[in-house]
Homo-oligomer: 345 residues x 2
């Protein structure tokens, strides 16, 4: 199985993506892997697998590596007299901006490079938490109630404390705060606005049951991971989530009823179908009084949630062999021809 | 005013985009214009303005023109010893696929090229008519009732005839049919499925009042065109719409009450704000029993709806000077540094 791991990106989760790629290198050992790093200036570098260490990038050593450019069907390394094309299926592992906002998806679509990862529309609906709420409404999926606050408005919130404040467009708990009373609100909003001009405010449900489930579609069928009940502190902060991205040991299946498992899977499938094909995603659910609520969609989970799958390598292989193909649009000049011939020229 | 008109694209509306670009050349005379053509294989060509004729492209003469590639901040023409960069603001005039589905927007964002046109998220919400309905629901805007049919399902429709059937993702009336009775339904659906695997079905409202309004945001304010009541046949078919893209004469203002004009503008603004900034869009509304319903959003209207603006050139200039700037994300290696120093290396 040949794959190109694409990681980095101009994203607040840039470091996380590096750690994620290093983890994947280990989890997919035996595969024929290339590594392509996208730096914060959007330059692509081909990284020697033996240099896949965090310090390579933090010390800027990637700058000495070969630069690649995008071309039809491949990333290309241009030499003086010849070029080398890297045309393996790409695994988009850029977390956050660039990778999860639809930019990389559009780039790979445009250059006809096949890839594992969310397509442009799926990215838009999962990257911005406001649009995830719209998706839930449209697909009749329950989620936590919410309000939106923009950085340029003074809004009186109607939700009751405690609240959780998140930047609208960011994952990995960056910029997230829990606010227990009104006096803490402004500081929490300012923290969120450092990352986005809009924030989403939700009630913080103390002690809520949380379950994570990952999955993907291959051969017209959903393939699910085990359900995990993540360990909880007040909430997973950046540092803990960060460690999450280097997780590689399989976790224990949550002890839940078959009924709840079925409910989680059916909610997952409703979200996934006709939108996330081509991606392995993780959905984080809350369960409140027996009711399943969607908390978040991770369209590119940290190291693809390898720790939730019994046979991660086979899963990636199945997904890679079932990627959606963009229909090639054939252009016609019929109308121009008919006008020109009517004009007699 | 320097501008690069980007047109063509791998789109069913490829020809329309060519006509649209030729019209814009005339309407923006006096501006310093470059023309970049994107062919169906996603190769970019620099087109000599004197060659901006429909037959240039239908005869394939563009293939003799200089090829351009994307690079940070510009389209670049690479020569043997030096390169020329075309870094003017781009006016995205690719109608339909590529241009309106978010692909070109993402490409220009990634390469930090400033552009007039919808951003990625705005494209997703206007390109797919299903998502436009979700947008309407979320923003509390009324639209025509609808059902979705997929090419792989047999669905019994609950709407009453006559119906209008449209491919979910296409503009310019391509693949659209009016169905007066059930016996015509299958053929109409097949026609739509030639262009998309999903179709949207709406009641066809005979003799409905239709009004078009274009506008954009500059300096924090909405700038509106006049309201037009388009001439009606049963519906505008491809050929008539096609002529629409070469329209360049200003039309007459619809004779409507001030109250209705205000309603149309307030609906437009609700759709536009916090989503379409950077684009000049046209919204097509129906009015049924005094109620305003959104019919369609055209995020890149044919020749930018020049015929609706009293001073089109000044409008484009105002918009070009008020484009959203993507925030540059600064990447940090704090976490990797802290881990490495903890490890003592």
């Amino acid at each position: 199985m040949k794959l190109t791991i694409l990681f980095g990106g101009a994203s607040f989760e840039h470091e996380i993506s590096i750690v994620s790629a290093i983890t994947l290198k280990e989890k997919l050992s035996g595969f024929d892997l290339n590594f392509i790093f996208c730096d914060q200036d959007h330059v692509f570098y081909l990284v020697d697998p033996s240099k896949m260490k965090a310090v390579t990038f933090s010390k800027g050593e990637h700058k000495k590596m070969p630069q690649l450019s995008l071309s039809n069907g491949a990333f290309v390394q241009k030499g003086m007299f010849s070029s080398t094309a890297y045309n393996a299926t790409v695994l988009n592992l850029i977390h956050g901006g660039d990778g999860e906002d639809g930019t990389i998806a559009a780039l790979l679509d445009f250059f006809s490079i096949s890839y594992i990862g969310p397509r442009v529309d799926a990215s838009v609906f999962s990257y911005d938490k406001r649009y995830t709420k719209w998706l839930c409404d449209a697909k009749d999926i329950k989620s936590v109630e919410y309000e939106i606050v923009s950085s340029d408005e003074c809004k009186v919130l109607s939700l009751e404390y405690p609240l959780i404040i998140k930047p609208s467009c960011l994952g990995s708990s960056i910029g997230v705060s829990i606010v227990k009373e009104e006096s803490q609100l402004d500081y929490a909003l300012d923290t969120a606005f450092e990352y986005d001009s809009s924030a989403i405010v939700e009630p913080f449900i103390e002690g809520v049951k949380e379950y994570n489930l990952a999955g993907f579609m291959a051969d017209g069928e959903m393939h699910f991971s085990i359900v995990e009940e993540p360990q909880k502190n007040e909430f997973l902060d950046f540092e803990k989530k960060y460690m999450d991205f280097s997780r590689s040991e399989q976790v224990l299946k949550a002890e839940i009823s078959e009924e709840l498992e079925t409910k989680l899977k059916s909610n997952f499938e409703k979200i996934y179908r006709n939108l996330f094909e081509g991606a392995l995603i993780r959905c984080d659910f809350f369960v409140v009084e027996g009711e399943v609520l969607l908390n978040e969609i991770n369209p590119i989970p940290g190291s693809m949630a390898n720790y939730l799958f019994e046979d991660f390598k086979s899963s990636i292989e199945a997904l890679a062999n079932a990627l959606p193909h963009a229909k090639k649009t054939k252009v016609s000049y019929d109308y121009i021809h008919s006008i020109s011939s009517a004009k007699g020229k």
